[in-house]
């Protein structure tokens, strides 16, 4: 992807990701708790429990505090008359090209968490797949949507 023409997501998406993975990975904290309530913490089990607690806490901290900024840093998108180009991924890096002539419809979505941060996500559907640009400022998202649909209208092909 041409780095110069590509855009980044709104930085506040990091907050959204943090909150959603904090909730989504809360079960990690539950693992040592469950271990304690079932087996207890006597003898060797105390150390096993400590190790387990350490590991799950470390994992939780990673997904909540370390991954989201990296994810934001890696997320780039660019839109021009010919295609939409999405580049993202922390562990698996993925670049996707969507020809604009293949775009069936675009919409913007906003859940409660995104609304709290004044963000919207743009969803791009083709006849086969659906892609999402997860966190854009409401106004920008609206503009991106309009831009894509304007370009897509220029293409006359069907399916």
């Amino acid at each position: 992807m041409d780095k110069s023409s590509s855009q980044k997501l709104a930085p506040s998406i990091i907050g959204v990701w943090r909150w959603s993975s904090a909730a989504g990975y809360a079960f990690l904290v539950g693992i040592p708790v469950a271990y304690y309530s079932i087996i207890g913490s006597r003898g060797i089990h105390f150390w096993l429990l400590m190790a387990l607690a350490f590991i799950s806490l470390a994992l939780w901290i990673t997904v909540v505090f370390i991954i989201p900024p990296i994810r934001w840093k890696r997320w780039r998108y660019s839109i021009n008359q010919n295609e939409i180009d999405l580049l993202r991924g922390v562990i698996v890096k993925k670049e996707t090209l969507i020809p604009l002539s293949r775009v069936q419809h675009v919409d913007t979505r906003q859940g409660p968490l995104l609304r709290w941060f004044n963000l919207s996500s743009v969803t791009i559907s083709t006849a086969a797949t659906t892609h999402e640009i997860p966190g854009l400022d409401e106004v920008i998202a609206d503009r991106v949507r309009r831009e894509i649909s304007t370009y897509a209208r220029l293409a006359e092909d069907d399916v």
Binding site: Q7, K8, L9, A10, P11, I79, Q81, N82, E83, D85, G89, I91, V92, K93, K94, E95, T96, L97, I98, P99, S101, R102, T126, A127, A128, T129, H131, L136, D137, I140, R143, V144, R146, E147, T150, Y151, L154, A155, D157, D158, V159
Partner: protein, 476 residues
Amino acid sequence: MIRANLVTILVFLFIGAQSDSFSFFFMIGGGFALLMISGVLDWWRFLFKVEEGEMHIKRGIFVRKDIYLTKDRVQVIDISSGVIQRMFGLVKIDIQTAGSTSRAAMIEAVPIETAKEIKKKLSKNGTVEEENTEEQSLRENKIRYGLPNKDLLIAASTSGRFGIALSILGTLFSQIEPVIRESNMFEYLFSLLPAQTDTFMIASIIVVFVIVAWLISFFSTLFMYGDFSLEVSKDEMLISRGIFEKKRITIPYKRIQALYVTEGIIRQPLGFCSVHIHSAGYGDEQGSGSIVLFPLIKRDKVESLLEKVVPHYDISLQGIKPPFRALRRYIFRSAALLTLITGVLYWFLPLSNWIWLIPLLSVWWGWLKYNDAAIGWDDKNVIISDRTLSKTIAIVKRDRIQDASVSASWIQRFRKLSSAELHVASGDHGSSFSIDDISESDGESYLNAINSKLLVERKLPAAHDTTKELVSLPGW
């Protein structure tokens, strides 16, 4: 508006009787009358007409549904006739557009002439004025390909429908098994067979299963592809097949999304393969838009067939292979899990050493997968070949690609490898073709190739100016 034929009631009745929502007992005890009434109502409320290249269907007893289909959007026209329909000289016509919403646009029973009329009106050039000339030119250009009986038998005996048949048998067996067990049939069988050991008994049961499954797959394929023919005319092709349930599928060339050649594991050594296409219509019940273009053909004759039928799809296009350093990953992916499972089983169960043939075979399988993987492109097509069990070579026209992506996991990045994938429209969900572990630079040039093609191909009309008001976007 034409009302569907009266016999539709009967058809609706039979179809209604098959649905799960009415249990068998309910049906016997008065449910039958209900079905009868709903069948009549269904028929009464079902109206359709075709005019000016647009099909209009009104249906529904309580919730009225108005369906409009324009001929520009028709992907596939599918005329089929089951045993019941054929008794009354009727056919089912199914007009598929992209997406699953057109599922309701199916007429269960119409006379064949009406169906042909509808088909003609909805075909690309089937307007009334040019009907005569069209008819003539169609006749002139028509080429017909059949499937010789010998090939049909080979197709049936090597069909990959084996697994499906086995699973059917399995469920059937689990249903019947308690009954058999209670009636002491097993003991009887045990006393009949010369088998003394349990192992032998299990082995013989498996053998019987496999034979019965093979027979099922043999006959189901025979009935499905019997009487096969492929007719090619100027704008569209017509595939007809089936002995008991006849199917006639019309596909305009422009609607073909992708084409793929499959060499099954049994067929490949014999030098046979089958050819499928993807359409954006919903195809079968599972919603995959895959349609058989040719059920069995000699591998070396595929090129000449495709050249005559779909000349734009060139299967001989050369591909780039994954680099040698990817072989390790291919073998690891197919062998690692199997080896682990075998190891664990070997440890805990008293198994013979022959069990280690399984991991060896999986290594060989990985090597085969590596050997068959390739990706290639020219200015019109992208070709991807890969293997799961059977080898598949897929050709997609570039302007049919819905999206293309290249991904690389952490380990792949370390080894300078990447995976490429593309999606085409097919049925409800689309279909993807992918290749693992091509070199990073090949992956990059694959994306660039698709990208650059877009830049050259798209000539933006004057309306382009409207985009000027969209100022370039700020960062966020």
